[in-house]
Symmetry: C2
DNA sequence: CAGTGGTCTAGACCACGGT
DNA sequence: CCGTGGTCTAGACCACTGT
């Protein structure tokens, strides 16, 4: 549970700083010594101190500004890293057999809602996929996805019956940035049917919108089976 | 939307690597040159390349192993950073006035469920708080919290009517690690009453368990008002 | 064993931003 | 202005791990 304290290197500096904060020798909002001072006190190079303090700032423990120095964060913003693995791997990680089934594949003009999500003109032709991801043969995630074929033209030639859109995109579309929204929603009829749960059962919904530069590639709603939890540490 | 490409420094190296992946010059699973080779080719020190590749590995774009070298991640694990600010700040960030109301404060023996969550003996005396966080006077989050007073004895002297437990703990308890679970649940009766929504309405639940070393400090369930979304980028 | 990443060091210059 | 963090460099040694 607890990480062992490092005895050497930048991690030792990091842990020493953490110890001083934990023991309230350094209080929230308080300025801590400069990198050079700490380096002298801890008998290491300033570069090493810099590395340690940089990591602490990244995790929200310290706030740093040039000239102003470093302070213990007054209101430490906790940050949790949420991993978003392939569903194939997520299922494998819980020791279940992964399965995938395409439910529907159509080409449709964008309705107003999805046009707004993807920031494109209403009526633009989009590829829409509905699919089900299975764990040990039981429904795990219901997926409702839109793809803009103008950004990834090759997608129009794929039937997505044998490979999930996500895996195909990872292998065939370049790296991209995206946004993630997490919400609790009543199961929409199609999701309830696919997942075999009651309509309006509370489902965890992850909506991912992925961009390639300034063009939206895809928007996907992933409805998890009831009672699913996302877990993370901070 | 798109970050400008840096022209110098480790960020330039990072961006050059990203460019080669985006243009599919380097394909998923492919080994990329060693740090030393890249340093030579890009005319910079190996340290600089190391910094760039380290950041890329942290964000899941590369996989690195000693001796084996660096490869483009075959199945890039997307990672989303979820910020967990103080509710006071979260509410302020949406431009609303923050409010806080303590609903209940009791001392109870741990029931089986919470004892398991906090990894302590059933029946241990715990502080239990119920509270409501408000945005512009409307319910925003219903909080149901357990605190182990043996870890933070001073908490028994606080009435938590004027300050939320979270803010008090940040100011009065040392830094700590924790776990976060996110789920969609039907509103429990008490939450529905406090939030003014239907019983069994789908609510987003964030359960945070916080540890100080190997001792659990507190476990809190935060029920967000219906239709709330967590947002993040990746 | 040997190649590769991980890190430390000492010194240097620069960019930002309080004062 | 000038103190502070941000970064680069060249060189070195170490730790891990594939062969």
């Amino acid at each position: 549970m607890v990480n062992a304290r490092a005895r050497t290197g930048w991690q030792a500096v990091r842990d020493e700083v953490l110890r001083r904060i934990e023991t309230r020798r350094w209080l929230p909002g308080m300025a801590i010594p400069t990198e050079a001072e700490l380096a002298g006190e801890l008998h290491c190079a300033r570069t090493t101190v810099n590395r340690a303090l940089r990591e602490l700032a990244r995790s929200g423990v310290l706030e740093r500004r040039r000239k102003a120095g470093s302070r213990v964060a007054l209101h430490p913003v906790r940050r949790a890293m949420l991993d978003i693995p392939l569903l194939r791997h997520e299922v494998a990680a819980i020791g279940a057999a992964y399965g995938y089934r395409l439910l529907a594949r159509q080409t449709l003009p964008a309705n107003r809602i999805i046009a707004r999500q993807l920031d494109l003109a209403q009526g633009a032709p989009l590829l829409r996929l509905r699919a089900l991801h299975l764990a040990n043969g039981r429904p795990y995630v219901y997926e409702d996805r839109w793809i803009d074929p103008r950004v990834t033209p090759a997608a129009t030639e794929v039937d997505f019956a044998g490979i999930s859109a996500n895996e195909w995109l990872i292998a065939n579309a370049p790296l991209s940035t995206g946004k993630l929204a997490i919400a609790a929603v009543p199961a929409p009829p199609a999701a309830a049917r696919a997942l075999g749960c009651k309509r309006s059962a509370p489902l965890l919904l992850l909506r991912r919108t992925t961009w390639l530069g300034d063009r939206a590639v895809t928007c996907v709603d992933m409805y998890y089976t009831p009672n699913h939890q996302l877990q993370s540490e901070f």
